[in-house]
């Protein structure tokens, strides 16, 4: 299939950079897919919540996963390398994947974050990821006593 036959879309990041992508790749994002199906596609499509750095990464993932010549294990190998990024980038990618409703990317990212959080204590996770503890002492005590069944 020659590239001139492929429908293309233009995505514009929050910092006004434009990216040309194949429609067939872009519709992995349900947000974009809905626009295409409802014929509400503007040219370019503005993505107010995604900056160019993150959008470039999303597009890289999108195009890899749209390639029909790649096997599932090759895609998995790509995913393993793809998530080797600073945690802050992963969080931004999660926000972008959420905004674009890109389930496949979301699953890979959430799985990666989950693996980085597991097997640490609550205090260690808070420190590692700089999470504010907004519980009062009593609330925290009550939370600690919840769900005993999960630890049996």
């Amino acid at each position: 299939m020659s590239s001139s036959e492929e429908r293309k879309l233009i995505l514009k990041s929050s910092d006004n950079e434009e990216f040309v992508v194949k429609e067939s790749s872009a519709v992995q994002c349900l947000t974009i897919k809905n626009l295409v199906e409802d014929r509400c596609v503007s040219d370019p499509i503005p993505l107010a919540n995604v900056d160019s750095k993150i959008l470039a990464l999303v597009i890289e993932f999108m195009e890899k996963h749209a390639e029909t010549t790649l096997s599932n294990s090759e895609k998995k190998e790509f995913d393993v390398e793809f998530v080797k990024k600073p945690f802050d980038d992963l969080l931004e990618l999660i926000l972008a994947a959420n905004y674009l409703d890109f389930r496949e990317l979301m699953d890979v990212l959430c799985n990666t974050c989950a693996k980085q959080m597991e097997n640490w204590s609550v205090e260690e996770v808070r420190e590692k990821f700089n999470i504010q503890n907004d519980y009062t002492v009593e609330e925290e005590k009550a939370a600690r006593a919840e769900n005993p069944w999960a630890f049996e």
Partner: protein, 289 residues
């Protein structure tokens, strides 16, 4: 131009993009997806991180994939009428199913394995048909904490050992294995020690094997002949056979039995607790209890 799209963005209630996003800044829906990748104990632990994590841990999406596909049927079958008519969250259903639930007049128990998401069933000897069970010359009933039903049946001596049982249950599709939980010899506790008592009474198990059978209404059938020659005083799971469930939505009907009815020799000194049915992958994780 882009008007439809920004309306969409508002609908999604997106947090204004922070310049340095923190894990705690993610929307609940994203945190819920992260939690859904974890095991139940990790989820409940991390729910204590902060209030957003706590709230996210209740989302159905976190627990849905951990439930068997036919959990709605199991809820109707096992929970009380009031409970099953309420709109229980997936988390509530999961936590209830993880703890053993008695059914069939207290003679059977079912639970969901937290780790492997498999359904397990235990059937007490009280739910089985045992020849001569009420004749105290042959069988005595013993209260014990070594059984999850707190009771076992002890065979003193008999020519005719025959135990049968059946089960009709909506197992989720998968492969299962059925075992009899048996012990040669009786044990008792003396001064905190567990000792084998009446060992001299034990006999007849190494002459002919015991025949174990499993039969399903759809035609699957296994037979195994086994000598009960394990060391006395130790609970063992004797593997009867395996079966496959293809449809989670219709009840699986099965019959199982163990028999040693050769009248040329008596058998004596056997404890019968229950039958267990586990997902076949869990076989390696079989615990003593």
């Amino acid at each position: 131009m882009g008007g439809g799209f920004s309306a969409l963005a508002n609908e999604k209630n997106i947090v204004t993009h922070p310049s340095n996003p923190n894990l705690g800044d993610l929307p609940e829906s994203c945190i819920a997806l992260i939690l859904s990748c974890l095991e139940p104990s990790e989820i409940c632990k991390l729910a204590r991180l902060n209030k957003t994590f706590h709230q996210s841990s209740f989302a159905d999406v976190v627990w849905e994939s951990k439930l068997p596909e036919n959990h709605q049927i199991l809820v109707k079958k096992l929970f009380s009428v009031e409970e099953s008519s309420e709109r229980l969250s997936k988390k509530e259903i999961f936590s209830r199913l993880c703890r053993p639930i008695r059914f069939s007049g207290d003679t059977k128990e079912v639970w969901l394995e937290k780790g492997r998401r498999g359904i397990c069933v235990a059937i007490s000897w009280k739910g089985m048909k045992i020849t001569g069970i009420d004749d105290r010359r042959y069988w005595t009933h013993i209260s014990t904490d070594e059984s999850r039903f707190h009771t076992i049946a002890y065979l003193q001596q008999m020519w005719w050992l025959e135990v049968e049982g059946n089960l009709e249950f909506e197992f989720p599709a998968g492969n299962y294995s059925l075992f009899f939980r048996l012990q040669i010899g009786r044990t008792s506790k003396r001064a905190g020690w567990r000792i084998v008592s009446d060992l001299e009474q034990v006999h007849g198990w190494n002459i002919k094997p015991v025949k174990f059978q499993l039969e399903l209404s759809n035609g699957q059938h296994t037979t195994s002949n086994c000598y009960l020659n394990e060391a006395a005083g130790k609970w063992m799971h004797y593997h009867v056979g395996d079966f496959v469930v293809e449809n989670s939505y219709i009840p699986t009907k099965l019959k199982f039995s163990m028999a040693q009815i050769d009248c040329t020799h008596t058998k004596a000194g056997l404890c019968l607790d229950s039958v267990f049915i586990f997902p076949s992958e869990s076989m390696k994780q079989l615990k003593q209890f």
